[in-house]
């Protein structure tokens, strides 16, 4: 049985992000006027203040910018160790997505590793996790 992850409260800003995996695609909010990727998602562009923003799909690949192997059981149900990483997302310059690296031994993860998104569905939420490629 997979441990229930904390559930994001869905809002006008974030609903697309947390449900994006329904069609297997990862999306980020992007400004249609100046092309800035807005993460965390906003309804206005932080570069040009345009409200012409919309979720846009990305390839779903990226590179591990940094990571940590967590060994601490922050609650009794947690299975440790596991990898938490910040992934630099291809096609979304400047965005570093905090996520988990799954499907590989924890001691095989390195900064610079190439990764691809895989979604873990729990209820209405599709959690974007990443696997090494």
């Amino acid at each position: 049985m997979t441990l229930q992850r904390p559930v994001p409260r869905l809002t006008e800003e974030n609903r697309f992000f947390w449900t994006s995996g329904a069609d297997g695609r990862l999306r980020f909010m992007r400004c249609n006027d100046c092309n800035t990727t807005l993460h965390p998602p906003q309804l206005v562009c932080r570069k040009c203040l345009s409200e012409n923003v919309a979720p846009q799909p990305v390839a779903g690949t990226g590179e591990i910018y940094s990571f940590t192997v967590n060994h601490q059981k922050w609650n009794p149900a947690l299975e440790v160790p596991y990898v938490i990483a910040r992934v630099a997302i291809d096609g979304a310059p400047g965005v570093l997505l905090t996520t988990n690296i799954v499907g590989c031994p924890v001691d095989s993860v390195k900064i610079g590793d190439r990764v691809r998104v895989t979604f873990e569905r729990q209820g209405d939420i599709y959690y974007p996790l990443f696997e090494k490629t």
């Binding site: 904390p6 559930v7 060994h71």
Partner: protein, 386 residues
């Protein structure tokens, strides 16, 4: 004395411990009484109250006492008060107080930080823990990936430093070793037993590369600083310490969208409003709730270049009490306890007044820098006896 400056006139601290039975309000009152005596002020002269982050009902052990609680309990006649979470960081409460006295809104402000996390953890019926089943705001970008703790968030900045600049475990260990050595000379420190490099290297990992000794532990305590107006110093009886400069810059209020923590722009900006330079600093008291944060503060404040923090503290001699830049002389948060930011300003005042006893740095210290916060939280204060 500079009449238009703000000064720290009094410092106080309660008992520091783990699972204390004395209530957090009474710990706070203990610290206030000591600070009043230390400043030579009477409670009737206090007309302002400032704290961080204010009473937090969702996580009461983290901050059980707000400004209103203290005003009511002690019968303080406050002309100004503040208890805010969305400020530069813990010591942002001192920045707010300094602004208040400099603009004439009040004259003597009690600034306090009371933590009760250890006692709260031991008694979840009375002190409900933080609920994390549903998350929003910034927490939604970390908690869903079981990145619950600032240890996890800080560790990823540290990993990057290891990869890019070659930070070693032996270098990182110097923060914890120095804290433990200094805490052993501080009668109020939480941890009084020494730490060896072997102990450090053998300890279990919490979140790589941070091991047990790189992380502070829940503590019960209250720390108080009294901030007074420069034209009200004759009302006190103490050796006042001037707040010579303040900074609290953030470029992205985020734990994961930045290359460096907010200590980088904050450290840079601290020097913009003063003629003092990093080379004038006699002691540094820098946030080390996680050891690595102190390394980034050393870099951010310009004591060394970006990426050079590990080499700067290598061997520990430079940051020891008798070194060229004594660091966290009271034991920091890894030794003195998780006083959550306020301990650094408290210790800076102790040192500038020559009141450090067995841990007093040599010479005649005139200038100290103290800093609180990690991630998007950062406040730096330059304190001077000038």
């Amino acid at each position: 004395m500079k009449r238009d400056s703000a000064y720290i006139t009094g410092i106080g601290q309660s008992e520091v411990g783990v699972r204390l039975t004395r209530s957090p309000m009474l710990l706070t009152v203990d610290a206030v009484k000591e600070a009043l005596q230390n400043a030579g002020l009477a409670l009737e002269q206090i007309d302002g109250v400032s704290t961080y982050p204010g009473r937090m009902s969702v996580f009461l052990g983290f901050s059980p006492i707000g400004p209103d609680d203290l005003i009511e309990a002690m019968g303080i006649r406050a002309r100004w008060r503040s208890g805010a979470a969305e400020i530069s960081s813990q010591l942002g409460a001192v920045v707010a107080a300094a602004q208040a006295v400099r603009t004439g809104m009040c004259r003597h402000v009690i600034c306090f930080r009371t933590v009760y996390e250890a006692a709260a953890l031991a008694n979840p019926q009375e002190w409900p823990p933080l609920k994390r089943d549903t998350v929003d705001g910034g927490a939604q970008w970390t908690a869903p990936f079981f990145a619950y703790s600032a240890a996890n968030w800080t560790a990823q900045y540290a990993s990057r430093h290891v990869e890019r600049y070659g930070l070693t475990r032996e270098q990182l260990a110097q923060i914890a070793l120095n804290d433990h050595a200094n805490a052993a000379r501080n009668p109020r420190a939480l941890v009084r037993k020494p730490l060896t490099m072997d102990d450090y290297m053998a300890s279990r990992m919490i979140s790589t590369p941070l091991c047990l000794y790189d992380c502070d532990r829940f503590t019960d305590a209250s720390t108080v600083l009294i901030v007074s107006a420069g034209d009200a110093l004759d009302e006190a009886a103490c050796a006042p310490v001037r707040i010579a400069a303040m900074a609290g810059t953030v470029e992205r209020p985020s734990w994961d969208q930045t290359e460096f923590m907010a200590c980088a722009p904050t450290g840079r900006d601290l020097w913009k409003s003063t003629d003092y330079k990093p080379g004038d600093v006699d002691t540094a008291q820098l946030y080390d709730g996680f050891s690595f944060q102190a390394i980034l503060w050393l870099e951010g404040l310009g004591f060394c270049g970006t990426g050079e923090g590990g080499k700067f503290i290598e061997g520990g001699g430079r940051i020891a009490i008798d070194g060229e830049l004594p660091l966290n002389t009271g034991g920091g948060q890894l030794g003195a306890g998780r006083l959550h930011g306020f301990g650094y300003a408290h210790e800076a005042v102790v040192q500038l007044r020559g009141a450090g006893g067995a841990r007093q740095i040599p010479g005649d210290p005139r200038v100290a820098v103290c800093a609180s916060g990690g991630g998007p939280l950062a406040t730096a204060l330059l304190l001077a006896r000038d």
